[in-house]
């Protein structure tokens, strides 16, 4: 083959070739290891979740503005379980499904159980999900006293996404892709469980009843 350097069979050449191969495999494997959080998170969702830390852990004390326009802290809900998730009102895919599941779940709980559980739905779309719009949505979903629909107090969802481990990605077409996980926070303010949105509302209820 013209232009090819003829391979030699000397030991140092073979050793160097082996070393280069091992170096490539080691470096490449290392990059993939770091990129996937130790081969445990291959999606953006799972990476964000793993990066936020293991459970149980203390939930950050985030500030939010609820559907009545009042600024509140997550700590104000201490003493009850809180089911926190993010959504946005213009979503046409996963958010309506999760909201519907939550409505079914909450309406199926007894009054005593409801008094021990608050749902905190935080919008990732502060521009479109105004207080008025959140209030309307809250009314449409049954106007439950323990269901808070809010937007971050400073308009930025960054602290919530970073500290809870939620991946959010706003696309150019106005849609916002985000993790749909539900974070269960216990009365002491610790995140104790991350519930996958795949589970139907019956399964979600049976999961939650263990805690309530």
């Amino acid at each position: 083959m013209p232009g090819n350097r003829q391979p030699t069979t000397t030991l140092p050449t073979r050793f160097i070739a082996l070393l280069v191969c091992l170096l490539v495999l080691g470096c490449g494997g290392g990059v993939v290891y770091a990129w996937t959080w130790g081969f445990s998170a291959f999606t953006s969702y799972s990476y964000a979740l793993n990066k936020a830390g293991p459970l149980p852990r203390l939930a950050p004390d985030i500030s939010f503005v609820d559907q009545f326009g009042s600024e509140r802290q997550l700590a104000s809900l201490r003493g009850r379980h809180v089911l926190l998730h993010v959504f946005y009102g213009s979503c046409l895919t996963i958010c309506p499904i999760v909201i519907e599941q939550l409505r079914e779940l909450y309406s199926g709980l007894s009054a005593a159980q409801r008094s021990r559980l608050a749902i905190l739905s935080i919008s990732v779309d502060s521009l479109r999900d105004t207080t008025e719009r959140l209030h309307n949505l809250w009314r449409e979903e049954g106007a439950f006293a323990g269901w808070i629909m809010a937007q971050p107090a400073d308009g930025s969802i960054d602290q919530v996404t970073r500290e809870f481990g939620i991946w959010v990605f706003a696309k150019n077409d106005g849609t916002i892709n985000h993790s749909a996980d539900l974070f269960l926070i216990d009365p002491a303010g610790r995140i104790v469980r991350v519930i996958s949105p795949q589970a139907n509302s019956d399964r979600m209820r049976s999961d939650l009843e263990k805690y309530l």
Partner: protein, 184 residues
């Protein structure tokens, strides 16, 4: 001179794919981004290698093939695909590295011993089929930049590509295993 011109034209492929308008077309759906664009870049790199007169270091062939495989695998990770949509610099890296993957594979795969080439080709194509099935059958969204329908479509398109590569590898087994005239 003619080859150099062809080489320059092929080398323009990555630059062309990075143009915002062209990128928008490929980024619109997952099959276009992760399959059509990837295949185009691999083939572009492969073609560029056929035309380039660079020297080959036969002893480094396993390292080069390993590097190419790792590069390809990296860009098949859902999180990596998401990053190509979120950051233009990641997209540029995607384009350049897949072009380089095609170039490296074309350049160094023929230098591996026949048995190693057969094993690699069968393994690599099986991996593509498995990856396709994973994307096709997963009921949760893996890439946040695309929809679940896109993900399933991509998976089902990747499966026949992998099967075709597997069949090609099988058909090539006798040819690869017969020692060539120069004793390789």
């Amino acid at each position: 001179m003619k080859n150099i011109c062809k080489l320059l034209i092929i080398a323009l492929l990555p630059a062309l794919l990075l143009l915002p308008r062209v990128d928008a077309v490929f980024s619109a759906t997952m099959p276009r981004k992760a399959l059509a664009e990837s295949l185009l870049l691999l083939l572009g790199g492969w073609a560029a290698s056929r035309l380039c007169p660079w020297r080959r270091w036969a002893r480094q062939a396993p390292a080069a093939v390993a590097a190419a495989t790792l590069l390809f695998l990296f860009w098949m990770i859902p999180r990596s695909i998401d990053f190509t949509q979120a950051y233009p610099s990641a997209n540029a890296l995607f384009v350049i590295s897949l072009f380089a993957t095609g170039l490296l594979l074309s350049h160094y795969l023929p230098l591996l011993p026949g048995v190693a080439r057969v094993a690699y080709a069968l393994y690599f194509s099986s991996m593509i089929v498995a990856l396709g099935l994973l994307y096709a059958c997963q009921s949760t969204l893996l890439c946040s930049a695309y929809t679940l329908e896109d993900q399933h479509a991509f998976g089902w398109m990747l499966v026949p590509v992998g099967l075709a590569a597997y069949l090609f590898a099988l058909v090539s087994v006798p040819r690869w295993l017969v020692p060539s005239a120069n004793g390789r």
